[in-house]
């Protein structure tokens, strides 16, 4: 048995918030971003790419688990979601899994930050059925401040996916005082409307579920003082997007 958990740090069966139907979520290890609200901080550490020789056996083992829930996928129109971490950090495994799922007619979603070389993203986008694409912050400075990386590639890649008609759902994390400023919301709306064909957005309100994890892992939780957004502020924000012609869904 290969050490699967080195590559996929968690498999979440009966996941219903990341894509249609009942899904199995595979959480990939490694992420180039370090968003301060990250719910999976343990996933950020990158893999040492030189030692990854057993991709096929890892893929086979994962496919065995995935197939256990086929009946639920079929019944609900669900499937598999590649999440993380950032799945694009492990392209070989991602491609292998996406191909295997395709061969078995299992619906796939790529849940991505968009922060990756376009060549990898493009290849992945052609192998999966749907892309869940994070747009967090529309201003380069704040993007760098809160995620640790520049904004440019995220928006560039989104434009290019739009140009090639990729089936894509935008996802926007509502983080009080960080992403929900008037300036940021306007920036996102303006960019998306002017540069892409996408008008479906999924708002993901900040929650405190990861607090315990930060504590267990003895990591510094910079979100300790931030409160979860009120129902009212979620509704208000949603109405802004709606006003600008977006179809809004909440909580995935």
């Amino acid at each position: 048995m290969p050490n699967v958990s080195k590559y996929i740090f968690k498999i979440q069966r009966f996941s219903i918030h990341d894509g249609p139907g009942i899904r199995a979520n595979l959480f990939f290890q490694g992420c180039p971003l370090s968003c301060i609200w990250c719910h999976n901080p343990e996933s950020q550490k990158m893999l040492d790419s030189k030692k990854n020789s057993d991709i096929q056996s890892v893929c086979d083992a994962l496919m065995e688990t995935i197939q256990k829930d086929l009946i639920f996928f079929d019944e609900s129109g669900g499937g598999v979601t590649f999440s993380g971490g950032e799945p694009l950090c492990q392209p070989d495994l991602l491609f292998a899994l996406a191909d295997s799922c395709k061969a078995l007619e299992i619906h796939t979603c790529l849940d991505t930050s968009g922060y990756a070389p376009f060549s990898i993203l493009e290849k992945a986008s052609r192998k999966v059925d749907m892309v869940l694409y994070d747009v967090k912050l529309a201003i380069d400075g704040t993007h760098r401040k809160y995620t640790g990386q520049p904004l440019g590639p995220v928006f560039d890649n989104l434009t290019r996916l739009s140009d090639q008609n990729t089936n894509l759902l935008l996802r926007w994390p509502l983080i009080p005082d960080i992403t929900d400023t008037q300036e940021n919301i306007n920036g996102i709306i303006e960019f998306v409307k002017n540069n892409t064909r996408y008008r479906d957005i999924n708002i993901l309100p900040f929650h405190k579920a990861a607090d315990g994890k930060y504590e267990r892992l003895s990591l510094k939780n910079k979100m300790g003082k931030i409160q979860i957004p009120s129902e009212q502020s979620i509704r208000k924000t949603a109405s802004i997007f709606k006003f600008h012609g977006f179809n809004v869904t909440l909580n995935g």
């Binding site: 979440q12 069966r13 918030h17 009942i22 256990k68 829930d69 009946i71 639920f72 609900s76 579920a209």
Partner: protein, 786 residues
Amino acid sequence: MNPRVNHLRDKSLEEQVSLSHERAALVTQFYQSHIALEHSVPVQRALCLKYILENKEIFIDDQELIVGERGPRPKSVPAYPEVCLHSLEDLEILDSRPKVSYKVSSKTRQIYKDTIIPFWKGKTIREKILSAMDGDWKTAYASGMFTEFQEQRSPGHTAGGGLIYHKGFLDLKKDIQKEIDTLDYFNDPEALDKKEVLLSLDIAADALISFAGRHALALEEQAVLETEPKRKQELATMAKVCRNVPSNAPQTFHEALQYYWFLHVGIITELNPWDAYNPGRFDQNLYPFYKNDIEKGRLTKDAAKELLCCFWIKFHNHPAPPKVGITAKESNTYVDFCLINLGGVTPDNQDGVNEFSYLVLDVIEEMRLLQPSSMVQVSRKNPDRFVKRALKIIATGFGQPSVFNTDAIFQEMISQGKTVEDARKAGASGCVEAGAFGKEAYLLTGYFNLPKVLEITLNNGFDPVSGKAIGRKTGDPATFETFEQLFKAYKRQLEYFIDIKIKGNNIIEKINASYMPVPLLSLVTQDCIANAKDYNQGGARYNTSYIQGVGIGTITDSLSAIKHLVYDKKTLSMEQIQKALNNNFDGYDILQHQMLNSPKYGNDDDYADTVLKQVFNAYHDLVTGRPTARGGVHRINLLPTTCHVYFGEVTGALPDGRKKGVPFSEGISPVQGADRCGPTAVLKSAAKIDHLKTGGTLLNQKFLPDLLKEEKAQQAFVHLIRSYFKMDGHHVQFNVVSEKTLRKAQKNPENYRDLIVRVAGYSDYFVDLTLPLQEEIINRTAHETF
């Protein structure tokens, strides 16, 4: 909820449960009289019922629309001394026990002391049963290998078919006369026995007609005295209803409900059958009356709803008859297991969900009462919105309605040889027991302790808890070289105890057939009239006797831990395991840890689930098809009520890492906390049981309340249920409650009087549960999602 319903509901909720001596005193008077001696046993029983119904107090509550109480007033519960005689000590225990108590007045105690106890001592069914059992049975029973359902209550599940909705008792009396007229005294050696049974059914019909007549009279009298015009009119209408049913087939929705209710009260007065009586396929049976009344303009939807609410309150007025001793432990609840069935398919195999089904769901949600219990049958033909409507009620954390698979029930019925039409009219009663309503005498005979059989096997026939040799000598397990050898020994012990149980069952069935016929239940159970045989003698169209397996999760995990650690990995020896178990893991923490981390049922792991199938098949093969004394067959189902707690108490430490005395897994649910891969994995594991070979399986899952709030999650639950049912799962139910709430309720029970949780195949008030059962529920895995 309108003011009337609110008033009646509050009253029913506030009324304290008490024990009434009324019935016991009337039964005693009857048997003390010379009349009893002049007749055959069946006729005696019918005349006894008639005597009770003609002399018991009539109670009509102010404002109520459906009438009839079993006791002198609501929640005043009668006793059945001819089945089980309560001693003065029993009465004291019933009165003072902290949970599920029954207030017993000093007058009742006096009457028991002076009349009831002296007359019935030595004559009860319970005593007849216990004295007829041999030493092996008594030892096994006392050690907690199995329980015995008939020692305090009488048989009866899946009663309540569709017969009464198109036949009045006068019609049934004509049918009886026809059978009497055609008895063949020349060629049929049983002709006279048959005549006595038929006469008893005829008398039972008169008894209930007379009971209804007494209500009609009382209502007419009240109507005369009533000054408020609206109530005056209501009383007159109710009197008219009671004049027409049960004599004649019901003509209106009101009459159909009142007819059923008279019959319900009559049957639970005749004796104390296990799932009371049962309205069966409620929406299928009542919809034609509802539709017709609405179309004719004599009923509005609101009026129908009000009648239904009043009907619901009548069930709530009737807590289960008191149980004591082991029977109280296996079924420690006021709930009396009536189960309203909704949905499913029609007799011509169409979608059975109709507008009335949704109306009844509204009533269930609004009434939020423990009784009657309710369920939805989900066929692949039923619409998703029906399931979602039910889920919305489940999401309120009420444990009702439970969810059943119509398509599985149909296949179960067909594989038992039932007709296609009877299979489509089938459903579940009690907890999860599936049968042909009104045509099958479905008897539960007792719970069976599957894990304890392993304890006996590991000790070569010796029971370390009771300190007695109670099983077969199947060899010292330390000498077993393979898992197959161990499993063979387990099977031999299983066979030994099942043989004891079945022998006992066959004797007990004969005792009930001889001494305790049930004329009224027989009258409405097909084909007792045509067969001229009582329900307890095998008169029903189908006759089944069930042994309910308990702890399948616990036994699976225990066997798979041994298989894994001793025979496959070889990291432990059998002696080490035996030592650890004998010491209840004291000083064996590492071994216990290894056992707790062995493959577990409920994770869609074929290692454990293969063992599950082995255990299931062994149990099934040893029981199913064996003949019963009534001419039926024995079968299995998997449900526990509260018996997983009792069986846990009498079983020592087990190789799954469970310590002595801890409750077992419940129904076919995994061991509490052992399922770690989420609900889809649990359902996959559970579906590896061949449900279609059972007469019911029970799966509970616990979810955090947040999960079911969203529309998307509710849709996902519909898919979850549909997937499980595609795999032929029989039943699933959800507890939607957080641990935090349950802990708070333990600390401040007075603030959580109305907190309802799903226990096994029924719901109960959390604060009414015993502490071990409360803990067991808290320890179940709570699923969440992301």
